[in-house]
């Protein structure tokens, strides 16, 4: 900006100035709806829950300030905290990679030129359409140790299935299996991402003599990487928030073997009426997931390829 040249403020330079100021505002205007919504609907409750985590609040009683007590108790005097965290991590370790690989494979399968792919797409998506409670009930009857279809089918091939939901070793496995059925959303996103990759890249590679596997790793994966990043983050977040299925299917059991951290937070609030403690739990979970996500994001600069995005433009 030229300074001190009041004599040469021509109409066009004023216009330029205005345009520049206006163009600086534009991005904020676009993002404004979310910012407003965030401040009004999320920030307030967030701050409230943060403040409350320093109180003892039995929901139907009075709030009592207790400083860091909740946080200290969580880490030193509450084995359930560590246990539920461990259950969640165990679950995530299996669920996250399996879910992503499964969704990707299904998307690739659906991407093939076959007739009726739209029908198949719908079939794969169906479990995601059924609402939580009913789905959990269906799984309950599928996994039932005595009368369930799964064990029945297994018995037909000579295997005596475990009493899934009553077994401390198998209940979590059942949860992973049941959760994998809901991969529909991820699959769709992968499919959209796959379709976004121009066909001629594959054709060119074919002409150059590259095999399918080579094409997959050198073309598909890199171009799909923004989508993979998205799905990876979403699945990690989802794994840590796993609640409804556990609540309705196993109640966290047997013997707390499916007691997810989200359930720990929930029960502390609504079963034991310790809203302050529950808020503290929630904030810790938030920090953990945030840390994980940032880690994934940081690593993404090495393996995610945004077409047409130069590094220093990030």
């Amino acid at each position: 900006m030229k300074s001190g040249l009041s004599a040469s403020i021509t109409p066009s330079s004023i216009q330029m100035k205005r345009k520049k100021q206006w163009s600086k505002l534009i991005p904020y205007l676009f993002v404004a709806p979310w910012i407003i919504g965030f401040v009004v609907f999320t920030l307030g409750p967030l701050l409230f829950s943060f403040v409350i985590s320093f109180f003892d609040w039995p929901i139907v009683g009075e709030k009592k300030f207790i400083g860091f007590s909740n946080y200290i108790t969580m880490f030193t005097d509450d084995p359930m905290f560590w246990h539920s965290l461990w259950v969640t991590v165990k679950f995530a370790l299996f669920f996250v990679p399996l879910n992503i690989i499964l969704a990707l494979l299904l998307a690739i399968l659906l991407n093939q030129k076959v007739k009726g792919s739209s029908l198949f797409r719908t079939f794969f998506y169906v479990p995601s359409v059924i609402s939580g409670v009913a789905l959990a009930m269906i799984w309950g009857s599928v996994f039932d140790g005595e009368y369930g279809i799964l064990n029945y089918l297994l018995s037909l091939i000579g295997i005596e299935g475990p009493n899934w939901l009553n077994s401390t070793s198998w209940a979590l496995v059942a949860m992973v299996i049941a959760s994998l059925w809901g991969q529909g959303t991820l699959m769709l996103i992968f499919l959209a991402g796959l379709k976004n990759i121009p066909q001629d890249l594959y054709e060119a590679a074919e002409i150059d003599g590259a095999g399918k596997i080579f094409q997959f790793f050198k073309i598909t994966v890199p171009l799909l990487s923004p989508t993979i990043l998205f799905n990876l983050i979403m699945t990690i977040i989802g794994a840590f928030q796993q609640l409804t299925l556990a609540l309705v299917l196993t109640g966290g059991g047997p013997l707390q073997s499916t007691y997810f951290y989200a359930m720990y937070v929930y029960e502390n609030a609504f079963k034991y009426f310790k809203m302050g403690y529950s808020s503290a739990n929630a904030w810790i979970m938030f920090l953990i997931v945030l840390a994980l996500t940032l880690l994934v994001f940081k690593s993404s600069s090495t393996w995610v390829y945004y077409e047409n995005e130069v590094k220093n433009d990030k």
């Binding site: 991005p27 609402s131 409670v133 269906i138 009857s141 959209a192 998205f230 938030f286």
Partner: protein, 275 residues
């Protein structure tokens, strides 16, 4: 060569069919259960098909409570939230994807972070807030927040927009288009398939939302379908036939919508192949 291709194709078909059966199984079980009588729920060996087809279970379940009212409420909420999300999320995603501005990365991290907050903890303070606004027991509590964008959709859209080459922007700008015109005329059509995707997700999410209506609605005349479903699952007993029947009826709408929409998504993405 042709033989190899045919083998490949039949392999793919076989896999697709087998997997379809697998994924359809829970749904199929649900439909069969809704047609069974109460005495057939614990059969062994498990019977897939009911011995008597109780088609009246559907009418019985639907008429046991004012489900028609619930249906209307669900339709209103789902339609309005979806429109709201599409408008707001695309605007915000465009802002994050295409501009460099102060605080952009920090805001984006905050955006992502909001997805990680478990709802139980913000539920009660949100309730208190909505109570102040006078939104409790109205559909406003469920609808209005969705007009301000949702982190999930914004994130998804942003990823897609970022994969669109910037040359398009520059070309348009040379032609004299301003920012909004670029947004409206160029980007929206390009990400249209993703918008349809988001619409599908939101319709499903809103249609199946249970916690929101449970906490924010009191009066039966405002209930949505999923809350109506709670009528079948009591503290002491569960009406399994009823739940399965109603769930089946409820899932018809999103299923049909999905089937119609997913063609658009996939075909759309393909034809707008970014060259």
């Amino acid at each position: 060569m042709k033989g190899k291709k045919r083998l490949q194709k039949s392999f793919v078909y076989g896999l697709l069919i087998a997997l379809s059966l697998l994924f359809l199984l829970p749904f199929f079980w649900m439909v069969m259960t809704s047609l069974k009588g109460p005495e057939e729920l614990a059969q062994y060996p498990p019977k897939l098909f009911p011995s008597e087809w109780h088609f009246e279970n559907f009418a019985k379940a639907w008429n046991s409570q004012p489900f028609n009212v619930f249906l209307v409420n669900s339709l209103i909420v789902t339609a309005l939230t979806t429109i709201g999300q599409i408008i707001s999320s695309t605007l915000v995603a465009y802002g994050f994807a295409r501009f460099k501005f102060k605080g952009r990365d920090v805001l984006f991290i905050i955006l992502l972070a909001t997805m990680m907050i478990p709802w139980d903890v913000t539920m009660i303070p949100q309730y208190m807030e909505f109570n102040l606004f006078g939104w409790i027991n109205t559909l406003k509590a469920l609808i209005i927040p969705s007009w301000f964008g949702s982190a999930f959709y914004i994130f998804l859209l942003r990823q897609f927009i970022m994969s669109i080459p910037k040359e398009l922007d520059e070309a348009a700008r040379i032609d004299g288009a301003n920012v909004f015109q670029i947004y409206y005329k160029i980007y929206l059509p390009l990400v249209w398939p993703v918008i349809v995707l988001i619409a599908v997700f939101n319709i499903l999410g809103s249609w199946n939302d249970y916690l929101g209506p449970l906490i924010f609605l009191n009066d039966q005349s405002k209930y949505t379908l999923t809350l109506g479903l709670a009528q079948f699952k009591g503290v002491h007993d569960v009406n399994t036939n009823g739940i399965m029947a109603v769930t089946f009826l409820i899932s018809i709408v999103p299923l049909v919508l999905f089937f119609l929409a997913q063609k658009k998504i996939v075909e759309g993405v393909q034809t707008t192949g970014l060259k």
